[in-house]
Amino acid sequence: MSLDTATVRRIAKLARIRVDEAEIATLQTELNAILGYVDQLNEVDVTGIEPLSGGAQMAMRLRPDICNDGEMPEKILANAPDRAGEFFAVPKVVE
């Protein structure tokens, strides 16, 4: 499978990364090299194999659904690029 330039632009958009027109060709070559490399997985017959999603050989633990942390707005906002009171501030979304 080989990516065309339109697909590279679409992936960049989905990934929320601004890509200049001049970078598209290089990215296309690099991404296709990686996808070309992983194509060898098509040789493997995986009929009837259950996917392995995690590294842990265990069932996920559950905990009671209660709040066990919080009440620290200053700590949480300390690294915010912009804030308004006790909120994160972002550019206006709706006029």
Partner: protein, 493 residues
């Protein structure tokens, strides 16, 4: 012997006997860092004053008779572990202004044990790389040199700053993290021991996430015993990590003294890859002979899906990374670049904040998870990952541990292997399978290349059997008698 040349075990004994103080030990390391770090760039942030304050506190603990094996031991902390009040960057420009308001569990445990934090070690950006070249804060130089050459070599990656710091005697040990080989390959490139424990052994809480189903913390140090001492301090159950293992932490240090007599050691045929260099093959044969001499039984085994490890990894890890790194959007922390609207702000922030390799991996991950491609790439990779785990499970019915080379080559030059991303990825060919299966694996220095550079052997064990891995590694270490030292190190010039 110089204070910076001690092992953790030796320094601990001298501190306990009050032959030296923690302040003296830390000061010696602060001096070494001031002298060497401007050249090697092993630390992104140094914390000499914090280190001295912690050393004073350690001396008080020792005086009160409350010291443990890590009390007063100066360590480098990979800049992927959140440290409260100390800038944590993941070597990314996007986190340049980030000062964590909390501490990772692993570093909190080390602090509680009285260890001293010398600074935050450089790494590949978000731990994505095998050379430290992708760091947003400049590459790390390997303190080792080829014979008659001053060419700058990479220390490996992603824990390359940790590796260079310990090899150059700027720290007695360091924390690393390993997602596909990021502790073991740099350990091999710098003549150190380093262990990636079983997935779930060390808490991931507060470690900046790359690929959550693979990321695992571990120690890097100059001896296997030192790694064991550190691993005991770093391990243990943590309710704040949903994949943390509810298991008791064994006496890892005691395991390093165990005999390997009667142990069954597997030699996997599939690791004899095409084009393996003669010196790597010879080193591997030496390792076999050393273990045989000490009474281990050598058994040929097969791990049939080994060759698919790297391609599986380069689907699974970017997929998880694309999801984990979605949080860097210029809203809650890190850098922001203003834009015309919210989406434009996200896109400009991420374009300016991430380096080329991180962008590539996010984009690959986005693609393999996108509608219409998920089954063909991500699901398929997860199924082959299951087959790789089965390979190990079947092998471990017959053997107690597996011996392989750690990396296909010795350290290479800064600027080499940069032709295309896949060439760089091949560095991890021997380390990735254990990561995908979640089993523990360790690199131990075993010899020098013809050019005078360190080479490591890798020991892979069963889930939660780090003790056997440490015992076999210590046996290799004893037989190899590795005593070579790097060109650039504290006290050498």
């Amino acid at each position: 012997m110089s204070l910076t040349d001690l092992t953790i075990a030796q320094a601990g004994a001298k501190l306990a006997a009050k032959e030296i103080s923690a302040v003296e030990l830390t000061t010696a390391h602060n001096v070494a860092i001031a002298a060497l770090n401007p050249r090697l760039n092993a630390f992104i942030t140094t914390t000499p004053e914090l280190a001295l304050a912690q050393a004073k506190a350690a001396d008080a603990l020792i005086a009160a008779g409350k010291a443990g094996p890590l009390t007063g031991i100066p360590l480098a902390i990979k800049d992927l572990f959140c440290t409260e009040g100390v800038r944590t960057t993941a070597a990314s420009k996007i986190l340049e202004p980030f000062i964590p308001p909390y501490e990772s569990t692993v570093t909190a445990q080390l602090k509680a044990a009285g260890a001293v934090c010398l600074g935050k070690a450089n790494l590949d950006e978000f731990a994505m790389g095998s050379s430290n070249i992708t760091s947003g804060y400049g590459p790390v130089e390997n303190p080792w040199k080829r014979h008659r050459s001053d060419a700058k070599l990479v220390p490996g990656g992603s824990s390359g700053g940790s590796a260079a710091a310990v090899a150059a005697r700027m720290a007695l040990g360091a924390t690393g993290t390993d997602t596909g080989g990021s502790i073991r390959q740099p350990a091999s490139f710098t003549g150190l021991a380093g262990i990636k424990p079983t997935y779930g052994r060390c808490s991931r809480y507060g470690i900046i996430a790359f690929a959550s189903s693979l990321d695992q913390a571990g120690p890097m140090a100059r001896t296997v015993e030192d790694c064991a001492i550190m691993l005991s301090g770093m391990s243990g159950f943590d309710a704040r990590d949903s994949t943390s293992a509810e298991r008791l932490v064994p006496d890892f240090r005691a395991a390093t003294a165990r005999s390997v007599k009667g142990l069954r050691i597997g030699i996997p045929a599939e690791y004899r890859v095409e084009g393996m260099s003669a010196e790597i093959a010879t080193l591997w044969e030496k390792g076999v002979a050393w273990l045989k001499d000490q009474g281990a039984e050598i058994i040929d085994i097969s791990l049939p899906h080994t060759k698919y490890g790297l391609p599986v990894y380069y689907i699974v890890a970017p997929a998880e990374a694309s999801s984990n790194l979605a949080r860097y959007d210029g809203v809650r922390f890190g850098k922001r670049v203003d834009g015309e609207d919210l989406i434009d702000m996200y896109e400009r922030t991420r374009a300016a904040g991430f380096g080329a390799e991180v962008k590539r991996r996010i984009m690959i991950g986005t693609y393999v998870l996108s509608h219409g491609y998920y089954d063909a790439y991500y699901l398929k990779a997860q199924k082959i990952r299951a087959l790789m785990l089965r390979d190990f499970t079947l092998a471990f019915d017959k053997v107690d541990a597996i011996l392989t080379p750690t990396a296909p080559s010795a350290a290479f030059g800064i600027g080499e292997k940069m032709d295309d991303p896949v060439t760089m990825y091949l560095n991890d060919v021997f380390t990735v399978p254990a990561s995908l299966a979640g089993v523990p694996a360790m690199s131990v220095p075993a010899g020098l290349s013809a050019e005078g550079l360190p080479l490591g052997l890798q020991i892979i064990g069963k889930h939660f059997d780090e003790e056997t891995v440490l015992a076999v590694s210590a046996a290799i270490e004893r037989a190899a008698g590795f005593s070579a030292k790097p060109t650039l190190m504290a006290g050498a010039n």
